[in-house]
Amino acid sequence: MIETKNLCKSYAQIKALDNLNLHIEKNEVFGFLGPNGAGKTTTINLLMGMIQPTSGEIRIAGIDVVRNPIEVKKIAGYLPENVGFYRHMTAMQNLTYFAEFYKIDDVRERIDTLLEIVGLAESADKKVGSFSRGMRQRLGLAQALLNDPEIVFLDEPTSGLDPEGAAEFRKLVTWLEREGKTIFFSSHILSEVRAVCKTIGIISRGRLIIKGDIKELTKNLNDSMKIFLETEPQLEDESVLKPFASRIEIVDGDDEGHRRYILECERDCRVEIAKTLFEMGYVVKELHLQEPSLEEIYLRIIQEG
């Protein structure tokens, strides 16, 4: 579905993208991982035909994107990072406007359906300016799906979303996958990618470092979960945490000398931890996952690779 050959993009001496070769199959959910500034958005822009490559070829569904960007746009949907809309227009108006670029038989019905899908049916006639980030993001997805695209580009779709929102978004992606769409999911958060993607590629400084099946990759990464915990009052005995963690690291942090902990776990067991501590009379002040950074993964890959 997506095929790039030696794709290069330079901005005044700086190589934003260096010899990118991608091959994504139809109905593949491809996670495109990389730190900020690694070239993820540049890649998507190139794939969408929104910018011209310095060299190389792009083919999407057999269409030469460089020569025929409009054709690509017709079959592709794009949710940009921090998607923007016309704030003075309502969600409906925005979508109606964008829908006009396609030949859609019943625009109204389509938009209603999409809004229903993304959960914005009730906010259809609200001005976008008043939307929260999550709402915008969902509207962005609706916008990307207006033309019932074969391929959907999602650029950091969950960044800045609350966990609930992010989870809901993941559901939508899963739904899209079921709909048979090819999904190009870019993110700098590994867990996001891992949750939805079958295959991933990791990009750093314009270069694709690694590409392949996510399971294989995670195996390779020898990954484990890290959970950050802070309670009120301070735990008297860390041993209560032993059943969950393979390793307990004590972090001295705040001004009052409260001890905080980083637990290394096999899986995400935050619910159990919270429950246990609550029953013991502790209030969980903070409890969140600490992802292994891509840098770490990257470094690990480098070290291991």
């Binding site: 929104m50 746009k73 809309f85 016309y86």
Partner: protein
């Protein structure tokens, strides 16, 4: 193509800025027309012929000249920057639309909005004139139409300037500042600068000869029917002849000097849409009774400026990094 234009047009006519400024212009124009009607009446009853368009207060700069410029400016300065700020441009461009059509349609939408505003303002003014019993002749209507076209071009010039500012600026605030900078540059600085440049190029004016000018026939005092004094040329003394030659030479040089200086300063002021607008308008108001000033240069400058700015905006927009 028409999709973007339609949206842009709708944006323009729905914006409070546009409505407020067009409303202000409408009010000023209606007031000017009301005053113009009085003046027209007074002139008419005094037996003087006044160009019909003068009713629209060509000389009064407030209506279209100042607020029209503002309108054009405020319609354009954030067209690109706002989309960039909102991120809507990127979203838009992800849909099958050509980039150039976006900028073109922005211009078309603004142009249409301006056209309708000017058209309606002038139509309402004409309606008011009819209420006062002033029947425009066909040529009057043509003049008013020309007036409208010139005004459209004038306001669109400022739109083009601010659109350009919008394409080059990082944000709307900067764009507004840049646009106003251009406005001031074209309206005030350039003519002054032209004067200074002309002065430095042409140098000081020629000095009059040290000899006193030869006696000239005394013109009869105005109003009186005093006989014109005839000078017996044959009796003019020789030194007077000399002085006459010197003075004639001086007058020739002086005229040449001013012509040259005018040419240089005109070159600069031709870049000023306001100057051109006024020049073209006054040529519109005149009938062959008066000496018609050649306004070709003004017309060229008047048309060239918005075109140049639009082309610049176009190029800049196409090359713009949207990310």
């Amino acid at each position: 193509m028409s999709i973007v234009a339609k949206k842009e047009f709708a944006d323009q006519i729905s914006s409070k800025r546009f409505l407020a400024l067009a409303g202000v212009i409408l009010l000023i124009t209606v007031y000017t027309v009301y005053q113009g009607v009085q003046g027209f009446y007074n002139a008419y009853t005094a037996g003087m012929e006044r160009p019909f368009v003068s009713i629209f207060g060509i000389s009064s700069s407030l209506g279209f000249m100042t607020f029209g410029a503002f309108l054009g400016l405020l319609m354009g300065f954030d067209l690109v920057t706002k989309e960039k700020e909102e991120g809507s441009l990127k979203t838009l461009l992800s849909h099958p639309v050509y980039r150039d059509s976006v900028i073109n349609c922005k211009a078309i939408g603004a142009f249409a909005a301006l056209s309708i505003a000017i058209f309606l303002i002038l139509t309402i003014s004409l309606g008011i004139l009819l209420l006062y019993g002033i029947y425009p002749s066909f040529s009057d209507v043509v003049d008013v139409f020309k007036f409208g076209v010139l005004t459209l071009a004038y306001t669109f010039t400022f739109f083009a300037i601010s659109l350009f500012a919008s394409t080059i600026a990082r944000n709307s605030g900067t764009a507004l500042i840049i646009a106003f900078g251009f406005l001031i540059l074209f309206m005030a600085i350039l003519p002054i600068f032209g004067e200074i440049v002309a002065q430095s190029i042409v140098g000081p004016p020629p000095r009059p000869p040290s000899v006193p000018p030869p006696s000239m026939p005394v013109p009869p005092p105005s109003g009186g029917s005093a006989p014109v004094v005839k000078i017996d040329e044959g009796k003019m003394p020789a030194e007077n002849e000399e002085a006459k030659k010197l003075w004639e030479e001086y007058e020739r040089q002086r005229d040449e000097y001013w012509k040259k200086k005018r040419a240089v300063s005109d070159t600069f002021s031709i870049l000023s849409p306001t100057t051109n607008y006024l020049a073209l308008l006054s040529s519109l108001g005149t009938r062959p009774i008066f000496e018609t000033k050649d306004t070709t240069k003004n017309l060229i400058g008047f048309i060239a400026l918005p075109v140049i700015f639009f082309i610049l905006s176009y190029i800049k927009f196409l090359r713009m990094d949207i990310v």
